[in-house]
């Protein structure tokens, strides 16, 4: 698809042109190391997703399980453009984002296994990963429901006078929800530091973008809020890094929000339960796999002068990390029944609920009140 720029935008005008392909620049050792690390992150995500699918089919992971194989360049490119103080919010297809943000694979796999050492202690599962210590505020399951929340996090950053921005991931299907409209209007009206990353993988479940959106070029919708919008090839790590880096820094320093639409493709079905063939052909998938984002980075690394061995080692380390994640998850204990109600309310709410016991539904006393409600 063509990389067109939204016409509605001061920001685009001002912003410096996209960095030229790094190849023509002299490659610093540092640049090479960074790119290698990103390559390894992408491999880690791919390996992790493939392992998750195996574990799901082995019934050790339940619920909905949405994989992001094929979308790694967006994930790594966008998250690596974030600073430590920045905030990340995503939808339910969030394994890769969690890993890219540095959440240990063990904590992610343990969450998918529903174990106590999971990043949400087995309460959230695949769709609801988070790590507040790394500014990752979930992992949400209602399409577009994360947009108002992310917009509010950006408002929170402003109120706290932090020079930081929010990166909010959403899918191409989410841009038709009212929550998108209300969120972007607020973000632009209030000049909030937030970048809405539209991961356009061409389908929302079985519905192609053109069957769902009257304006299939989602980034153009930013203009309805006098907001900057642009589109990148989401399978080109350099392009994503450049665009996400630029838009996040504009958000941070000038408090100007933006929409970044990244084009990619989802290799697997919508979730592990979906074969993903009812609405697209095997050929289509094969064609896309032929331009695999990980292979493309590998090729760039070769150009940059990386040794084949370095790539192999990176691949091995990621495979290793995933294997360790699995054994960690296996060993992590299940949550205690006696803590079923812990975390439903803030600690210290016990007294508030004490007088609610009489006439409780059957079992409520033991299961909820005695199991830590408000504790």
């Amino acid at each position: 698809m063509p990389r067109t720029l939204s016409r509605s935008k001061p920001a685009a005008a001002k912003s410096k042109p996209a960095a030229k392909p790094a190849a023509v620049e002299p490659v610093s050792a540092e640049a090479l190391a960074t790119r290698l690390a990103q390559f390894e992150q992408m491999c880690l995500i791919r390996d992790f997703e493939e392992e998750a699918e195996r574990q799901y089919k082995a019934a050790r992971i339940g619920g909905y399980c949405h994989l992001s194989s094929g979308q790694e360049a967006i994930t790594v490119g966008a998250v690596d453009s974030m600073r430590e103080q920045d905030v990340l919010v995503t939808g339910y297809r969030c394994h890769g984002f969690a890993l890219a943000r540095g959440v240990p694979p063990q904590a992610v796999m343990a969450e998918l296994f529903g174990r106590r050492d999971g990043c949400a202690h087995g309460r959230g599962g695949s769709m609801h990963l988070l790590d507040a210590s790394r500014g990752f505020f979930g992992g949400w399951g209602i399409v577009a429901g994360q947009l108002p929340v992310a917009t509010g996090l950006a408002l929170g950053l402003v109120r706290r006078r932090r020079t930081a921005a929010v990166l909010c991931e959403l899918g191409d299907g989410a841009v038709n929800m009212g929550a998108w409209h209300e969120s972007l209007n607020l973000a632009s009206l209030w000049q909030l530091p937030i970048v809405y990353l539209v991961v356009n993988n061409e389908y929302g479940m079985g519905t192609s973008v053109s069957r769902a959106s009257a304006e299939p070029e989602a980034f153009r919708r930013a203009a309805a809020f006098r907001m900057h919008g642009e589109r990148v090839d989401g399978d080109d790590l350099d392009a994503v890094l450049e665009a996400a880096g630029r838009l996040l820094s504009i958000a941070r320093s000038e408090r100007r929000p933006a929409v970044l639409e990244a084009l990619t493709y989802r290799y697997r079905g919508h979730s592990v339960a979906d074969a993903g063939l009812a609405y697209r052909t095997r050929e289509e998938i094969a064609t896309r796999r032929a331009h695999d984002p990980i292979d493309r980075v590998a090729a760039r690394l070769a150009e940059m002068g990386a040794e084949e061995a370095e790539l192999t080692q990176a691949r091995e380390r990621s495979a290793q990390a995933v294997a360790e994640a699995v054994s960690f998850a296996e060993q992590s204990p299940e949550p205690e029944l006696a803590a079923l109600a812990e975390g439903v309310y803030a600690k210290g709410s016990v007294a508030q609920f004490e007088r609610m016991r009489p006439g409780s539904p059957f079992g409520e006393r033991e299961l909820v009140f005695d199991a830590g409600l408000g504790r």
């Binding site: 599962g125 009212g178 949550p335």
Partner: protein, 325 residues
């Protein structure tokens, strides 16, 4: 035939019978339904009758309301009940108000069908049962079939009804099998509960998946304790057939209300309130309630199983009500 197939048959029959009927929702066409209820219907009836929508619950539920005001018979599928929260204003403040607010001048014969329920570790945002909220809204009718025959009969009755009707289906029972009348004019009457299992010792009142569980428990109790529980399957939450429930309790003198949702301020609260009022002098024990533990449902299978109103918990509640154990 399965519950899913019964729903599909109902849709096919009504689409065939009445030009005004059309389906609308996310993935109902090309994808054949997130849970395959509408499989084959796009091929059979075409895109005008089986309409895929963007992810825009507020928009297309409202579109159903408008089309219904013009006399069409939209059948709107919401992928799961949880997502109906997004269209809440269109359902509660529009569909439910049309007829009365405009002095009876216009109707709104829309059907919204959607599965509720938990299980399968879908976690807090995807495991809820809000049907009581709709059942508490004058202007709406709310149905909840618990078996294939009623799935067909109630959905067809809903589509032929002149008022807005919410048909609450249930994920775990889509695959349940049962006898289904093939007569295309077979309807299950709205506002009539069914005695799903006769008994004399205690009345279990339930709807949707809870009825399936209640029947299993009644079976077990008959064998294990010689307790004969009568199971009243509500089928309809608004209108609510209190008459049938009361007749049963007058006979058994004890009642346990089972629901898959949270009991506090839930469906079982209304049942307990009605029963204590209608059968005050007949009750030998307080009306008991069993439902989902009152927490946002956790992902962990172990916690989820513990939180749900499973056979063990229902059985314990019944025995408790009977003063046994």
């Amino acid at each position: 035939m399965t519950y899913r197939e019964a729903l599909r048959l109902a849709l096919r029959e009504e689409l065939t019978r009445d030009e005004r009927v059309f389906l609308m929702g996310e993935e109902v066409g090309v994808f054949e339904g997130a849970y395959k209820v509408s499989a084959g219907l796009l091929a059979e009836f075409g895109p005008d009758r089986v309409r895929d929508t963007p992810i825009s619950e507020e928009g297309f539920v409202g579109a159903g309301v408008g089309a219904a005001m013009l006399g069409e018979r939209p059948v709107v599928e919401i992928m799961t009940l949880n997502f109906l929260l997004i269209a809440m204003d269109q359902v509660i403040n529009h569909a439910a108000k049309v007829r009365a607010m405009f002095g009876g001048e216009v109707g709104c014969p829309i059907v919204i069908r959607t599965p509720n329920g938990a299980g399968n570790q879908l976690t807090a945002q995807h495991s809820q049962s809000f049907e009581g909220w709709f059942a508490g809204t004058p202007g709406l009718k709310v149905l909840a079939p618990a078996n294939p025959a009623d799935a067909k009969g109630l959905l067809k009755a809903a589509i032929r009804d002149d008022d807005p009707v919410l048909v609450v289906e249930n994920l775990p029972i889509y695959k349940e099998k049962g006898e289904v009348p093939l007569d295309p004019d077979y309807l299950t009457p709205i506002g009539r509960a069914a005695v799903a299992r006769p008994g004399r010792d205690v009345t279990l009142v339930s709807h949707s998946f809870a009825t399936v569980r209640a029947l299993e428990v009644a079976q077990r109790l008959s064998q294990s304790h010689g307790v004969e529980a009568e199971v009243v399957d509500l089928r309809s939450l608004r209108p609510l057939d209190v008459e049938t429930v009361a007749q049963s309790v007058v006979k058994t003198n004890r009642a346990v209300c089972v629901e898959e949702g949270w009991p506090s301020y839930g469906v079982s609260a209304e049942l307990a309130a009605r029963i204590q009022s209608a059968c005050f002098d007949d009750l030998d024990a307080p009306v008991e309630r069993v439902g989902m533990a009152e927490v946002p449902l956790p992902y962990s299978k172990k916690l989820e199983l513990a939180a749900m109103p499973g056979q063990e918990r229902i059985e314990a509640a019944v025995l408790h009500t009977l003063g046994i154990a």
